[in-house]
Amino acid sequence: MTARNKRNGIIATVVLSIVCIAWVYPIVLILINALKQESAISTAGVFDLPNAGTFAGFSNFVASVTQMDFLKSFWYSVVISVTSVVLIMLCCSMCAWYIVRVNGKLSKALYYLCIFSMVVPFQMVMFTLAKTADTLNLNNPYNICIIYLGFGAGLAVFMFTGFVKGIPIEIEEAALIDGCSPLQTFFRILVPILKPTIISTAILEVMWVWNDYLLPTLVLDIKKYRTIPMAVQYFRGSFGHVQMGPMMASIMIDIIPIIVLYLICQKYIIEGVTAGAVKG
């Protein structure tokens, strides 16, 4: 029995290793091509490794950063992701506490609206949302976080209410009796308890905002501000000759920070996904 188990274990490990190599291959392929000279990249020739004649070093990466203004896109993506997610975490956790502890029409209505907003496809609101953002001057990378707060509130409020419900109310009562104001109670008592949930939810929201394409495309002025997904689509999708080398390099510049971040906070990311699903 144990010998058979051991054999099965070895077979499973070998099969999974092969599948895993296939799994990372698409990314490796892009990296290989990012290191090739422009003339060596063709549709059928993407599988050839760069040789001494076609190896381009990091020139494609340099070209992508200088020609495509990729650093600027990177900066916009970082600004939008950070401001939006910080705002979502702060406002939605406060809102969720109120929804759970105050039994009223406002709480109920807001809770069901949040759930509802998660199902609605973005195409339903894309045109009117872009117009609203223009009118209210929310169409730049520094103000767009308000839009993200509105659109991301559904998931965050839903996650936070799920967890606040599990916190014993006596802790908060004790704090209030001891003279804490509601704000002090929230920041001194609830935030520390909610910390793991805040991290998990923040990761889910960062994954969404960082990769979001359609919302910033429609809301921001594409000539002035481009986030990374917008820049990739703008250069690849525009007519005329596309420089494939810098294109591949910019894809790598987009992926590398994500993978590094993933390897560092892997535990939280996987917990976040599981928590989101279980609560959902």
Binding site: A44, G45, Y98, I99, Q123, I146, A153, E172, G237, Y262
Partner: protein
């Protein structure tokens, strides 16, 4: 008492979220429903036309075709994703060596955005297709369709796998041991114990894969762009194309009407699916 104390603090606790929610979701949503009954090109020349937009949706067959393609796409992709993700989760919960490394690698594609994913797979698949002398993704609707399926499998299997692993780890070992003592075969344990016990995970995973498949946009745009001749357009891209890709004063209204219809379809599917699978869940 907590409720009473914080009730009057609502301007601080609720108002910011509420205001942003109204700006970012509620108002555009209601306005969008109103505009679906109007003819407009910008917000300044709105003219009420009743149900005309809804009847004009079927003026060409792009919407119907996109609808059936999306239905097919959502069903095929969610069946494949769920079956494969569940199989991988089964193997990874057996406690073999290197499980964590495999889990890490399988999940990784999930972190990459749809646009970038589309271009990665376009490079790979077009390379393969041209090696085999087949028409490229943008030239053949069939190849484009299966290309999107492969892409979505790569992206989502890892996510669903994580959820299934969590579900399988929650199945009590006592239950399985009891079944083994009673003489249950491994396949009986799988179908009679493990599957019913992880029904909540199956519910959430089919819900996520179905709605993701239905709402797919970025990957469609970057992998095939709807080519050839809009034949690989899924619903979301078809709506976007009606809005921004066509000239003529009637198209924005029609696009908005399509979006409302799309919204109703997605909500209906979500409700039917949730009811169908939650009824199979067992109480522990």
């Amino acid at each position: 008492m907590v409720g009473k104390t914080i009730k009057k603090w609502w301007p601080i606790f609720v108002l910011p979220t509420l205001a942003a929610f109204i700006i970012g979701f509620l108002w555009p949503f209601i306005w969008g429903i109103y505009l679906s009954f109007c003819k407009f090109t910008t917000v300044k020349d709105v003219q009420f036309v009743g149900f005309t937009n809804y009847t004009k949706i079927f003026i060409d067959d792009t919407f119907t075709r996109a609808f059936w393609l999306t239905v097919l796409f959502a069903i095929i992709s969610s069946v494949l994703i769920n079956v494969l993700a569940f199989l991988i989760a089964l193997i990874l919960t057996k406690g073999f060596k290197g499980t964590n490394v495999f889990r890490t690698i399988f999940f990784m594609p999930n972190l990459i955005g749809g646009i970038v994913l589309g271009y990665i797979w376009q490079t790979l698949l077009n390379g393969l297709l041209s090696k085999w002398g087949q028409p490229l993704l943008q030239l053949s609707a069939v190849n484009g369709f299966w290309g999107m399926i492969i892409l979505l499998l790569w992206q989502q299997i890892g996510y669903m796998m994580i959820i299934y692993i969590a579900g399988l780890n929650n199945v009590s070992p006592d239950l399985i041991e009891a079944a083994q003592i009673d003489g249950a075969t491994p396949s009986q344990i799988l179908f009679k114990i493990k599957l019913p016990m992880i029904m909540p995970s199956i519910t959430i995973c089919t819900f996520l894969t179905l709605t993701n498949g239905f709402k797919l946009f970025d990957q469609n745009l970057s992998l095939t762009g709807g080519d050839p001749g809009k034949k690989s357009q899924l619903l979301a891209l078809n709506i976007y194309d009606t809005f921004y890709g066509r000239s003529g004063p009637q198209w924005k209204g029609i696009g908005q009407a399509k979006a409302v219809l799309f919204f109703i379809i997605v909500v209906a599917i979500a409700l039917v699916q949730l009811r169908a699978t939650t009824s199979k869940e067992v109480q522990q």
